[in-house]
Point group: C2
Chain length 270, copies 2
Amino acid sequence: MKIGIAGLGLIGGSLALALRERHEVTAYDTDERARAAAKADGIRIVSRLDELVPADAVLVATPISAIVPALEQLAARADGAVLLDTGSLKRAVADYAARAPVGARIVGGHPMAGTTSAGFSAADAELFRGRAFLLVPTARSDDGAMAIAGTIVRDVGAAVTVCSADVHDRAMARLVAGPLATAAALAVVGAQAEPLVGAAGPGFRDSTRLAETPADLAMELLFGNSADAAAAIASIIEALIQLRRSLERGDRDYVRSFLAAARSVRGELA
Amino acid sequence: MKIGIAGLGLIGGSLALALRERHEVTAYDTDERARAAAKADGIRIVSRLDELVPADAVLVATPISAIVPALEQLAARADGAVLLDTGSLKRAVADYAARAPVGARIVGGHPMAGTTSAGFSAADAELFRGRAFLLVPTARSDDGAMAIAGTIVRDVGAAVTVCSADVHDRAMARLVAGPLATAAALAVVGAQAEPLVGAAGPGFRDSTRLAETPADLAMELLFGNSADAAAAIASIIEALIQLRRSLERGDRDYVRSFLAAARSVRGELA
C-alpha cells in the first residue's frame, strides 16, 4: 500500500520504520530536524502535510492536540485514503469524524506501546511487536477502512482490539493516567526517603518510570480527559485509604485479600 | 573467608552463587528441597543452622520473621563470626543486637535488589551487581565487623551505603511499602478498565509489577513496619488528592510543577 505518516516522533517514526519494508511509506513532520533525521534514515519525506495524499492510508501520529486539525486538513483532499490516528485519547477523534465530510474515511487508533523517550531518535521498528493496538470505529469508518487499519496493525507486529471511543477513554484513564499520577506521587514522596533515595531498588524504579513521561505528553494525558483521569485517581485514592486503614487497625485479612485481588489482575496481562 | 548462609531463597541463594568463587561458602535452609536444589548446584550444604559456625561471617537471609530467632541461635555460639542479615527492615535487628550477648558481632544489611520471583530457582549471582547494599551498624558492630560486611558487599558487586536503623526503616516505607501499595491499588483499579485491561501497555505493566510480590513477603513489608508504611501511604494519598483537585479545577500550572518535581527525583536515581 501507499502509506503516509504525519508526525515523526517516537510513534510515527517507529511506524515508518516498521512499515517501510512492505509498503511505500512517505512521511512528514512540522519540525525540519525530525524530517532531516528520518530522511537520513532512508525514509521518503515530503515538505507539506497535503503531499501525503493521495495514498491508501495516512497515519496521523502528531501530538494529541494536533490530531483533529491534521485530520481536518487531510479529510478535505483525502480522496478515499483511510485516515488512522494513533493518539492516546479517542473521543475527540470520534467527535470530529461525526462531523467530517461525507466520503472521509476515519478510524481511531491507539498502539499500547511506548517508552519515556521521545522523538525520531528513539523510534524502533520493533516498538509495536506483541503489543495491543486498539482500533475505534467512527461514524466515518466503513468495513474496507477497518480492514486497511487492521492490515497496518498486523504489519507492525501488533494485535487488533476493537472498542468504542467511550470505553477506550475511560479505560485509558485507569491504565495510563492513573499510573502516571501514582508514578509522580511516588517519586515526590520518595524524595522524603533522603539520603537513601539514590539507593532505591528496581521496584521503586519501575514504579516511578512513568514520571519521566515528557511533560507535554503527560499534560495531554491528564488534561485531555480530565474528568475520567480525576475519577481514576479518586478510585486509586479510595483503594489506598482502605489499605492504610487496614494497616492501622492490623487487619491482615483485608490486606491479604486486597493483594490477592491485585495479583489476579496481573495474571490477566498477556 | 569462611562464609555461612542461612536461608536459600532468592537473596540467600544469590549471595551463595555470587560468593562461592572467592570464598568458602556453606549454606543451610530449613526446607529440604531448597537444600537439595542448592546442593545440586554445587553449594556445600549443612543440615543444621548451628553448623554454619565457626565462620568469619554468617549471612542471615531468612524471611523477616525468622531473622531475630536465627540471630539469637547463632549468637550463642558464633565465636567471633560476624552475623549480617539481609532483611528489608532493620529496627528489629538493631533492637535485638542491643540485648545480644556481649561479644556477639551483628551488622544489619539490606541489598536493594530483588525480583518478584522467589526461591533458589530464581537465584542469580549477578542479582546485586551495581545495586546499593545498605549496612546498619548496631550496638554489636565493631569496626572489624563493618569491614567484613563491606568486603562481602563489594564481593557481590554492590555498593555500600551506611545508615541508621531508623533512617533505613522510614526510608523503606517510602521506597518499598509505598510502591507496593500503589502497585496493588493500580492493579485493582485497572480491573475497572475491562475489557481492555489485557491490552495494557508497558507503563501499566511496570507500575503494577510489585503486585506480584510473593504474598508472605508483601505482608511482612507492610505489617513489619506498619506505622511508617501507613504514613508513607498517607503521603501518597495526599499527593494524589492535590493532583486530582488540580485536574478538576484545571490548574495546569500546579500539575506541570508537580510533574517537574517528580522528574527531578527520578534524576537522582543512579
